[in-house]
Structure formats: structure tokens, C-alpha cells
């Protein structure tokens, strides 16, 4: 059965091909059917695999399918082969499941767009590449998926290509992630040079044999891979592209820039966990990057005016949590949070999309308001999403995944109270801005007229995602609640658990849970008050902290920094040397030749007698030379 794994990426690719080659000849209805059914079938196959793995896992908990010999050389033989294990399944199930729902949502959301077919073609292409990325069993094939999703991200951010600003955002996304990709490439070269293979399981098996714990090579390899992950997952210092990426259509933001592609970095680190385990400083770096990102991005999310930018910063922040978990070795914790985050963040984006559509493409939070009554379905689903984001205790999946993550951070030998404290601070801010979102959009006076209401398919998708966001946390519960460890057991089939739970810490766990709950509830309450009844106090505060406000608004001014130290110097250099200085140097030779020409030209005066004199002089000189030799 598992040999059918090639169908997973092949179906969406086929959908892409049909839609591209068919072009405008395919009707909208047919297009929607093709796009949704390919991803839908992939989803079904994926679910069958997952169930199969849970009931009766294959030998070594993995199944490899080699499709063809791709780069067969003596020094390295790279097959085009897919590997199905629990890690790739965890990813693939989210990609196909959420992907399918977003396809369904888009059939309605994009119905007014003239480029309907192109949109679905790109969307299908994206799902195909993303599946290739998580199913690849060697680094080169992984790169195909890795860059492929980058391409789709570029295409979809710049989907409305007539506006140059969209094009700029799209290019920024591609180029910034490419900087990370360059690091990843170098990392791959290093791994190959040291281990002689690019097959990921082999690399993980060989690395501990060849490299000592804490060796420089392992550190370099891990850090370079981290570079790639940081770029793709929009973590510090390469996070600047994600807020701008919101220029794309909202379903794209939900699928690519929230649920799936941006978490590819998390996947990559989880996939190469063995290398990171060999390099504790690299683990520390991951944790530090994660915690700094989660806090800075949360602060930036707090002050944004654009609803999608709030969600974008919150995505950066949530992925920061995942990185923190990865950095302390809590593989299952990171992936669990990835999963719940995919649901509730997709839900938030899609609900936000419904709001934006209803308000005639208005994205400014301060021009929304009072939608609770007019769009009740959207309100309730958005509220559930926001509650998950804030990790409201007990009822939301976000709570369970974040608590597992935080608990792992607390007890892990790589983690500790400091990381936990930063994460808690982030959680407080997260609750604050989640409440702010809900308050500004759905409460208070209505500031813009509702011009459209979401239809059946949008509503259906929102409800499904909301239900998942509420109950999805049930696959993994804190052991003090009940002993449910379905997800971590599933992941542990592929990645051995690093953070072992010491016994007898129940009291601690209870305390932490309580503290976290109190902080989250406090944050949410404060947010609700500030953006509801306490508005005057908020405005007074805002008036006094204008500079800080602007600083956070611009995402800690990273854009300006990079603009000053990288972009503008490069552009200026390019402008300055547009005509190629080397060419000028070549003209030096031309100039010399010309000067010599002018000098020698004088002798060519055309006077017979002087030529004769020249001949005579020459003859005399030759005679003299012969005489005195």
C-alpha cells in the first residue's frame, strides 16, 4: 500500500499540469473540481497511510520508494526517492488536510478573480512541492521541494501582478529566503564532503560515528542548516519578508504563510535532529533565536493596524515557539505545536479573509468593528482561533500544545527557567494581541458597512477548522490530566525522544500549568479591557509611547536596517558600475594603441626625399653595426 506514496505529490502536480496546459479553456467549475479533487484524493491517501502506521507500522517505521535513479554518479548516487515515516506523515497530513480545506475555501473566495485558473494551478503546484519537500529522503530532492515552495510562494504573493508593490513583496520573500537557502546549500556541501552521502537517514546514522559530540564540523553543519530553516520559517534575522508576504490573496497567506511552508524550517531541523544533537551550541542557538523571535514578533503584532500583518507577526512568533522547542530537543512538542498552529492559524486567516471580503477589502483593524452581530459564524470561529492562539486554558488545542512545549522547555537539559520565562512573557503578549484583534474586529461600533456575507463553502471550512482547533489538542494531553500520548508516540517512531520526563514532578507541572493559565487569562482580560472599556487609558499610553509604537509598528526597524546595510549599497554599487569598469580598463589598451599610432604616424609624412633619407640613415646604421660588431 505504501508504494502509492508517489501519488501524494503526483496528484497535485498533475492538477497543476492540466490547469496550466488547459489554461482558459477549462471552465471555472472544472477547474475547481480538478484542483480540489487532486488534493482531496491526496488527503484521503494520506489518512489511510496514517491509520495504517498507527495500527500496523512497517519495519523500521518507514517506507522508502525509489522512483528512479536521479543523479547516478560514482562519487554520489542520488535517487529520486520518497520516504514515508511518521515525521513526514505528520507534516503531510497537515499539508493535504489544511491544503484541501483551503482549496475548498478558495473556490468561493476567489470566485470574482479573473485569474481563477492560474490561482488554482499555483495552489496545486504548491501542495505538490510541499509534499515533495516533506517526503524527500535525500537533501537534493528536499531542495527541489524547498525551492519549489519558495517559487510558489513568490508566485502567489505576487499573484495580483499589476501592482508593483505586490511584485516587490514577492521578490523580497524569494530573495530573503534564498539567502537562507545559500547557507543550507553550503551546509549540504559540507555534509557531503565530510560524510560522502546526501541520503538523510544515512547522514543521521553516519554523523555520530564520524563526528564527536560538540565537534566543530557538526556545529558548522547544524548552523548552516539552521540558516536555511531561519530563512524559510521567517525567524530572526531573516524574518522581514513574512509581513510583506501578506500582499498575496488571503487563502495563500493561510496555506503558505501560516500553516505549511513557513514551518518547513521546523521540519528541516526536526528531520536533521541528529546533527543538532551533536552540536549543543547549535541547539542553544536555535533556542535563543526561537525565544527572541517569539517575543519580538509578538510585540510587533501588538501594534499593527493591518489585520493580516497582525496574523503574520503572530505566525512568526508562534514559529518562534516551535524553534524554542526544537532548541531544547522537544521534537514532539515542536511538531505538536506546528500541527495545532496550522489549524488555528489557517482558521484565523480564513476567518480574517471572510471579514476582509465582507468589508470590501478593508484590512485596517481600526476601520472594522461591531461585526459580532452581522457575521456571527465568522465571529465564533475567529474567536475560537484567537482563543487557540492565546492558548486559553483547557478548551483549546493551542493550550495543550503550548503547555506541552513549555513543560518540555522547563525540564529539558537544554532549556530551563529563563527560556520558560521568555516564552511566558511572549504568551502574555500573545493573549493581549489576540484579545485586541477580537475586540477591534467584532466589538465596538461598526465603522465599515458589510457588503458581502460568506457563503456555504467558506462557512463549512471555517466550522471544520474551528472544530479541529477545539478538539485537536486531545491527541496529546499533559500526563497529570490523562495519559494520552498518541502524537508523541507517533513522532517518536521516527525521532527518538530527547527530553525524558523525570518522575515525581507532578506538583511542578500543576504549578506551571496554573501560572501559565493565569498569565494567559490576565493578558486576554487586559487586552479586552484596553480595546473595549479602557480605550481612554490606552490612548493616553499610546500618546506617550509614540516612538516605541512606531518602532514596533515597523517590526523593530529590521527593514530599514537591511535596507541601509545591504539593499541600498548593492543597488548603488550596481548603478555605479552599470557600464562595467573592466570594459573601461580594456579601453585603456585601445587608448595606448591610439597614442602609439599618433606617435608613429608622424613618420608617414609622404615626402619622398625624407623617406630616402630614412633609408640612407638605416643603411648607415646597419653598416656601422656590421663594422663594429
Amino acid at each position: 500500500m505504501y508504494d502509492l506514496v508517489w501519488l501524494l505529490p503526483a496528484l497535485p502536480f498533475a492538477g497543476f499540469l492540466v490547469l496550466t496546459l488547459g489554461g482558459p479553456r477549462i471552465s471555472r467549475g472544472a477547474c475547481a473540481w480538478i484542483a480540489c479533487s487532486t488534493v482531496g484524493i491526496s488527503t484521503a491517501i494520506m489518512l489511510a497511510f496514517a491509520v495504517g502506521f498507527l495500527i500496523h507500522p512497517p519495519a523500521e517505521h518507514a517506507h522508502t520508494l525509489t522512483l528512479w535513479r536521479w543523479i547516478p554518479l560514482e562519487a554520489v548516487g542520488i535517487p529520486f526517492s520518497l520516504r514515508l515515516d511518521t515525521l513526514s506523515q505528520a507534516m503531510a497530513s497537515v499539508i493535504t488536510g489544511v491544503g484541501f480545506l483551503i482549496h475548498l475555501y478558495s473556490t468561493e473566495y476567489m470566485k470574482m478573480d479573473p485569474d481563477y485558473n492560474r490561482f488554482f494551478a499555483y495552489l496545486n503546484l504548491f501542495v505538490g512541492f510541499m509534499l515533495l519537500l516533506v517526503l524527500a529522503d535525500n537533501f537534493v530532492l528536499l531542495l527541489v521541494g524547498w525551492e519549489g515552495v519558495g517559487l510558489c510562494s513568490y508566485l502567489l504573493i505576487g499573484f495580483w501582478y499589476r501592482d508593483p508593490a505586490n511584485g516587490r513583496a514577492a521578490r523580497k520573500a524569494f530573495v530573503v529566503t534564498r539567502i537562507g537557502d545559500a547557507a543550507l546549500l553550503i551546509g549540504i556541501f559540507l555534509i557531503f564532503a565530510e560524510l560522502g552521502t546526501l541520503h538523510i537517514p544515512e547522514v543521521l546514522a553516519l554523523a555520530p560515528e564520524r563526528w564527536e559530540l560538540g565537534s566543530g564540523v557538526a556545529l558548522a553543519a547544524a548552523l548552516l542548516i539552521l540558516g536555511g530553516a531561519v530563512g524559510k520559517s521567517a525567524q530572526l534575522p531573516l524574518q522581514t519578508w513574512l509581513p510583506d508576504a501578506m500582499a498575496g490573496p488571503t487563502p495563500v497567506s493561510a496555506l503558505i504563510h501560516a500553516a505549511t511552508m513557513v514551518t518547513a524550517g521546523v521540519y528541516l531541523i526536526a528531520r536533521t535532529h541528529g546533527l543538532f544533537e551533536l552540536a549543543p551550541p547549535a541547539m542553544q542557538t536555535v533556542a535563543v533565536i526561537g525565544s527572541v523571535t517569539l517575543f519580538t514578533a509578538a510585540c510587533a503584532a501588538l501594534v499593527q493596524r493591518d489585520i493580516k500583518r497582525v496574523l503574520a507577526y503572530s505566525t512568526i512568533s508562534q514559529i518562534g515557539y516551535m524553534f524554542l522547542a526544537l532548541g531544547v530537543g522537544a521534537w514532539a512538542g515542536a511538531l505538536f505545536h506546528f500541527m495545532t498552529h496550522a489549524w488555528f492559524k489557517a482558521l484565523l486567516f480564513l476567518a480574517a479573509g471572510a471579514v476582509i471580503n465582507a468589508l470590501h477589502h478593508e484590512q485596517d483593524l481600526f476601520r472594522m468593528g461591531g461585526l459580532r452581530k452581522k457575521l456571527p459564524l465568522v465571529f465564533w470561529t475567529f474567536l475560537i482561533g484567537a482563543a487557540c492562539l492565546a492558548a486559553l486554558p483547557l478548551v483549546t488545542s493551542g493550550f495543550y500544545s503550548k503547555e506541552k512545549l513549555l513543560w518540555d522547555v522547563w525540564i529539558s537539559p537544554y532549556g530551563g527557567p529563563w527560556f520558560w520565562a521568555v516564552a511566558m512573557a511572549g504568551a502574555f503578549v500573545t493573549a493581549l494581541y489576540s484579545a485586541r484583534l477580537v475586540a477591534l474586529v467584532f466589538f465596538g461600533p461598526a465603522r465599515t458597512q458589510v457588503s458581502a456575507r460568506p457563503g456555504g463553502r467558506v462557512g463549512f471550512v471555517l466550522v471544520i477548522l474551528a472544530i479541529w482547533s477545539l478538539i485537536g489538542g486531545g491527541i496529546e494531553l499533559p500526563h497529570t490530566f490523562a495519559h494520552v500520548t498518541v502524537f508523541s508516540d507517533f513522532v517518536a517512531m521516527t525521532i527518538p525522544t530527547l527530553v525524558e520526563l523525570p518522575p515525581g514532578l507532578d506538583a511542578q507541572l500543576w504549578t506551571l500549568l496554573a501560572v501559565a493559565s493565569v498569565i494567559v487569562v490576565a493578558g486576554a482580560t487586559l487586552g479586552a479591557w484596553l480595546y473595549g472599556a479602557g480605550a481612554p487609558a490606552r490612548e493616553a499610553l499610546a500618546a506617550r509611547t509614540g516612538a516605541v509604537h512606531r518602532f514596533l509598528m515597523n517590526g523593530w526597524e529590521f527593514d530599514r536596517l537591511y535596507d541601509t546595510i545591504l539593499v541600498r549599497p548593492y543597488v548603488r554599487l550596481a548603478e555605479w558600475n552599470r557600464a562595467d569598469g573592466v570594459d573601461k580598463a580594456v579601453f585603456l589598451i585601445t587608448g595606448l594603441t591610439r597614442a602609439a599610432h599618433v606617435a608613429i604616424q608622424r613618420t608617414q609624412h609622404g615626402q619622398l626625399r625624407r623617406y630616402a633619407a630614412g633609408v640612407a640613415t638605416g643603411a648607415v646604421i646597419i653598416l656601422l653595426i656590421m663594422l663594429f660588431q
Binding site: 543523479i71 554518479l73 524569494f174 573592466v582
Partner: protein
């Protein structure tokens, strides 16, 4: 005999096209296509035999026996790939010139076919004198193509092209003759035959100078930084067909020369020079990418991307290991495809809006979605998107080069970022953005679409299933490595340990590591004096 026909077909086709062109331009075009297609069909069957050892085919006629010069042709997998590339791009360049060339059509096709004749000759000549003959044969018709059918600034570009290639050709001639005489002095046999010269005993000094002669000639053609300045003018001023041939095929003769001649003939000298050559490659990658980004002329931009891409070949060849060499070969083929396609697109745009100025383009996706889709595809190929052929080439080169030099490879890898910048810039400037009000364009017609589709399929194929390509190049590259790797690596070791592999002219004390102990003393002296004119 088939090898002879590989050369004779385009040559004769050219003559017939010239004659027919006086009566009917259409006939000249069809004759050219027929001649090239016939050559292509003749060469194709050799693909299946590419795993055989030695030459796949040989052809020899005596020419100037007194000087050891013969009309000797031979083909192996490496030559075969490039010959096929030449024929394919030749056909496409005739196809895309169908409407845009309307003056002196017969003569145009004569020149195009004679360029191809020269190029194919370069790829399959195994007599160095014959090689030089074909090397020069390429230049003159190209000069005419640029000079007669080019854009506004064509005379300047044509003369620049001519001077650069002629000057480097002179160096090549001197080096070839020097090599033959050095070989004569050690063995007493005067020959220009590649196989025999391959084992020539040379002193360190002679090797260095001869290597540099060959290297500079090929580096100008590749073109390597800082010898690249002719390229931007020649590419941007040439007519579409000429640009396709120039970028797709002519540049490859340089890469081919580096692989076939420079390192195998002079392993120690190459090893000593390798860091500089690789640095030139990296400089070309970064510098070309930077220049490309700054251009406002579309064809000029594409021309500079060529410099960037061809830098990988220099980097790969002088790393001299299996991965890097295979990567260089793949990169040569795929660069021919992707850049050829971009030039065809630029030509299609020029036919429609009569400008190459990017500031007068924009928003063409509205009116020409097919062109936009293809433009996007080839821009992606040129930035090295994994899954397309160029990625295989670049990746293999970089993996191989990493084993030769870590810092240079790291710098070269930064080139992928720069490549993204300029490739996306093309897409943005030409196809995206708000439509330019003054320009209305039609989408690609079937002829143009067909030509580009061939290249698209090729790039996808090489990206997803490069095995045939790699297998075909495997045997010849293996033989070249068998021949040179040991000496190359020994010299590299010495260089790494800080020993001077070469000390420049000191004929009295010849204690160079390169010295072969079995060579008689007198021979070494005489060879050294030849190399020091």
C-alpha cells in the same frame, strides 16, 4: 565518415542556402533547417553507444604530413553532447530568425551555418592544427552576422568581438605550435595529434607558459572575468539567431577547450594555476550577476547572466573531480538551453515592440500570458531552481568545488542569491507591473512557442532525469581524469603544502616537482628554451 558529414552537412547547406537565397529566402531557410536536421539525425544514434571506451568514431585524412598535421576528427560522449547541442540550437536559431531577418537572407544563413560548421569542427577535431582552423572558422561569419544584421551599435560590437577572439586566437596558435615543438624536441616526432601530445614531456616552465596560452584563449571565449567585456556588446547587438548561437554554442567551445585540453595537457601547471582560475570563475559569477541586475537593456542583462553562469564552468573544471566536471558539462548544456531561450524571448519582444529597453516594457502578462509563463520558466531555470537542468549543473559544480576550495565555493554559492535578484527582476520588469500604455503586443505564435517548448522540455528533462546526460559524459570525463587526475592531485598536494610547484624562469636549476625523472636531460633543456621566447 559520418564525422566528416557532420561537418560537411552544415558547410554544404550554407553554400546551397547562399545560392538559393538569391531566388527565394524561404528556400534558404528550409535548406538550412534540412541540413542541420540531417546532421542532428546523423549524430543522435551515437547516444546509445556512449558507454563504449575510446572514441565513438574517428575519421582521418592526411593533410600536411610533413608537419605532422592531418585532417583528424574523433568524437566521444563529451563532443557528442556538444555537437547535438549545436545542431539543436542551430535549428532553433534558424527558426526564430524566420521573420526577423529579411535582408540578404541567403548570406545570413550561409554565415550561420558556417559558424555551426566551425563550432562542430572545434568539438570533434583531434588534430590541434585542425582544431585551430575550426576555431578561427567560427569567428569570421559571426563577425559578419553581428556586423550586418545586428542592432544599432553593431559595428562597434562586431569589431570588438573580432579583436578579442583574434587576439586570443593568436595566443592559442602560439601555444599549439609551442606544444608541438616541445613535443618534437623530446620525442623527435612532429605531430599535432591530440592523443600523442597528451603524453608530451614538458618542463615546468614550458608547461606553465603553454597552459596560460591555451587558458587565456579559452577564458576569453568562456568568457571568464576579466576577459568578458566583448560579450555584453556582442550579445546585445547580434540579431536573435546570432545571440542564441553565441550564447548557446560559441561560449561552450571555451568550456570544452578547458576540459579537453588545458587540464589534460598540462596537469601540473593547471593545478598550480587552479586557485586563480577558480577565483576568476567566482569573480565572474558574482560580478556578472551584479552587472546583470544594473542593466536596462534586456539583451545586455541576459548577456551578463551568461558571464555569471559560465563562471561555474571555470570553477568546475579547475576543481577537476568527477562531480565538478559532470556539473560543468551539465551546466554547459543547460546554460545553452536556458540562455538561448531567454534570448529567443528577448527577440520575440524586440520583434513586437522594437526595443530592448526594460523601462519601456511591463505588464505583458495581460496580453501575452503564454510568453509570460515561458519567461517565468526560463527565468527560474536561470536562477537555478531545483528540478530544472541548471540546478543539477550548478549543484554538482559546487559540491565538487567544495572539495577543492571551501572559501571560493562559499562565495560562489552567494551567487545563487544574486541570480534570484536579477532573474526575478527580468520577470518583474517585462511581464509584471502595470501594462505599458503605448505597447500592445501579441502572444507567441506557434513557431516561437514550438522553439521555446523544445527548450522547456529539455530543461525539465535534464532536471528530473539527467541520467542520459551524465552517462554520456561519464566515459570521456573518466578517461580525461584517468589521464590527468593523478598528476593534477599530486601537484595540488604540493601547492597545499606551500611548496612552489613552479618557479618561474630559472633554466639553470631545474628542480621542479613536475620533472619526470625518466626524461633525458638534454630534452628538457631544449624544451625550456622553446617556451621562453
Amino acid at each position: 565518415m559520418i564525422l566528416f558529414w557532420l561537418i560537411a552537412l552544415p558547410a554544404l547547406g550554407g553554400v546551397f542556402a547562399l545560392l538559393a537565397g538569391r531566388r527565394s529566402p524561404e528556400a534558404a531557410r528550409w535548406i538550412s533547417i534540412a541540413a542541420l536536421a540531417a546532421g542532428f539525425a546523423l549524430a543522435i544514434p551515437y547516444l546509445g553507444r556512449a558507454t563504449e571506451t575510446g572514441w565513438l568514431a574517428e575519421f582521418s585524412l592526411p593533410w600536411i604530413p610533413r608537419l605532422g598535421i592531418s585532417f583528424h576528427l574523433a568524437m566521444d560522449g563529451l563532443s557528442l553532447l556538444l555537437v547535438l547541442l549545436t545542431y539543436l540550437l542551430g535549428i532553433l536559431s534558424v527558426v526564430v530568425s524566420w521573420r526577423s531577418i529579411d535582408r540578404r537572407v541567403g548570406f545570413f544563413h550561409f554565415n550561420m551555418l558556417w559558424i555551426l560548421t566551425g563550432t562542430i569542427g572545434v568539438f570533434i577535431a583531434t588534430d590541434l592544427f585542425l582544431f585551430f582552423f575550426f576555431w578561427e572558422l567560427m569567428v569570421l561569419p559571426m563577425f559578419l552576422v553581428i556586423g550586418i544584421w545586428g542592432h544599432e551599435n553593431r559595428n562597434y560590437a562586431a569589431i570588438k568581438f573580432f579583436i578579442f577572439t583574434q587576439a586570443s586566437g593568436l595566443l592559442l596558435l602560439v601555444a599549439i605550435v609551442g606544444l608541438a615543438f616541445a613535443h618534437f624536441h623530446t620525442t623527435g616526432v612532429l605531430t599535432f595529434h591530440y592523443d600523442e601530445l597528451l603524453g608530451a614531456e614538458l618542463t615546468a616552465v614550458a608547461q606553465m607558459w603553454l597552459m596560460l596560452g591555451f587558458f587565456v584563449a579559452f577564458a576569453v571565449k568562456v568568457p571568464a572575468f576579466p576577459f568578458h567585456t566583448w560579450l555584453a556588446d556582442a550579445h546585445s547587438e547580434a540579431p536573435t539567431g546570432g545571440s542564441v548561437i553565441l550564447a548557446g554554442v560559441l561560449l561552450k567551445t571555451g568550456g570544452y577547450g578547458l576540459i579537453r585540453f588545458v587540464v589534460p595537457l598540462f596537469p601540473e601547471a593547471s593545478a598550480a594555476f587552479a586557485p586563480y582560475a577558480m577565483a576568476m570563475g567566482v569573480a565572474g559569477i558574482l560580478y556578472g550577476a551584479k552587472l546583470a541586475f544594473a542593466q536596462s537593456d534586456l539583451k545586455r542583462l541576459i548577456a551578463y547572466t551568461s558571464i555569471s553562469h559560465m563562471g561555474f564552468i571555470l570553477l568546475g573544471v579547475f576543481s577537476w573531480n568527477e562531480l565538478a566536471l559532470q556539473g560543468s558539462v551539465v551546466q554547459m548544456i543547460c546554460h545553452g538551453f536556458s540562455t538561448g531561450a531567454l534570448f529567443i524571448l528577448a527577440g520575440c519582444l524586440y520583434d513586437r515592440i522594437h526595443t530592448r529597453d526594460l523601462s519601456r516594457m511591463g505588464g505583458f502578462r495581460d496580453q501575452a500570458p503564454r510568453m509570460a509563463a515561458l519567461g517565468l520558466f526560463f527565468a527560474m531555470a536561470s536562477l537555478g531552481l531545483p528540478g530544472l537542468g541548471n540546478f543539477i549543473g550548478e549543484f554538482l559544480v559546487l559540491v565538487g568545488a567544495f572539495q577543492a576550495s571551501v572559501p571560493l565555493t562559499v562565495l560562489a554559492t552567494l551567487g545563487v542569491v544574486a541570480a534570484a535578484v536579477y532573474s526575478l527582476w527580468i520577470v518583474q520588469r517585462v511581464f509584471h507591473g502595470t501594462p505599458h500604455s503605448s505597447s500592445r503586443i501579441t502572444d507567441l505564435n506557434l513557431r516561437e512557442f514550438g522553439a521555446l517548448a523544445v527548450l522547456l522540455i529539455g530543461l525539465l528533462w535534464f532536471g528530473l532525469y539527467p541520467k542520459p546526460l551524465l552517462d554520456t559524459a561519464d566515459k570521456p570525463l573518466r578517461e580525461l581524469r584517468n589521464h590527468a587526475s593523478e598528476r593534477f592531485e599530486r601537484a595540488t598536494e604540493l601547492r597545499r603544502h606551500g611548496e612552489a610547484v613552479f618557479r618561474i624562469p630559472d633554466p639553470g636549476a631545474q628542480t621542479h616537482p613536475v620533472r619526470r625523472t625518466d626524461a633525458p636531460e638534454t630534452h628538457r633543456h631544449s624544451a625550456a628554451t622553446i617556451a621562453l621566447p
